[in-house]
Symmetry: C2
Amino acid sequence: MNSNTDASRSIKASVPVSLHARTSVEQVEEGRELAPKFDQDGLITCITTDADSGDVLMLGYMNHEALVKTVQTGKAHYWSRSRKTLWHKGATSGLVQEVEEMRVDDDQDAVWLRVRVSGSGASCHVGYRSCFYRCIPVGKEHGAGKELIFTESSKTFDPNLIYGDAPNPTLL
Amino acid sequence: MNSNTDASRSIKASVPVSLHARTSVEQVEEGRELAPKFDQDGLITCITTDADSGDVLMLGYMNHEALVKTVQTGKAHYWSRSRKTLWHKGATSGLVQEVEEMRVDDDQDAVWLRVRVSGSGASCHVGYRSCFYRCIPVGKEHGAGKELIFTESSKTFDPNLIYGDAPNPTLL
């Protein structure tokens, strides 16, 4: 990475992101204006998938600032509901998510990120690659007494080494 | 479809689905028991992707009943927040979602369905295949004055013909 790249990035980051007021269903569903609907907590839901495999890696949330930072930098930012802070994914673990493509849904209350993950490629705080590492048997498979089935046989990192004694975001 | 198949389905549907109480972080994250966390509205978030392409088709919500029906039948059921009713996806439009695989995330507050959609293959009430039919330019692409970019050039069905004058679920 040279200083030209850094300079170019800092110029991009300073360009404001236009979020429009929501004025009609037609504008929201059929328009070209980004007019996101944040919920009562000021958050929008974000689905993050692996750009190559299509696997869902995680489900996160963005506030206004996280959405803007993601658009400006091309790196995934979220709002951490457990830590109540802006969360540049990978700042602690090194597992940065480079955004290949970002999409918004019909009523603009959710976004979808297709990402490439640096380092070991993991996105889950438990140590697995995807947060969705267990199957629920359904339909024909249901009824045979099966419970959850693990789809990943080993962890990609040791959460204790990466996160130390930081609080676990999983709540009962 | 013959009567044997119907009988077999009805037996499967009558097998209860065991939802476990949440007793520890280890049980929730590392266990084989399905112990979902429903939010204050009794809902769990559901990401639905196309089993072949990996594209995200929609983001929905399930209550307890919708989750159980999906597991029992292998067909996607949701809770419609706009209509406040159980929603067997495709009951009106014919665009049934057959579940190829169902997964649950680390803290069990979200599920992921990989589905095959019957009929035209659409999952979006606006008429597009995916609800995520518009890109938000990010990073290097951001700053060039671009707004949303459509990724689908035409609709797969006319929503007016399918849904008539039913209320539009998009709220401002």
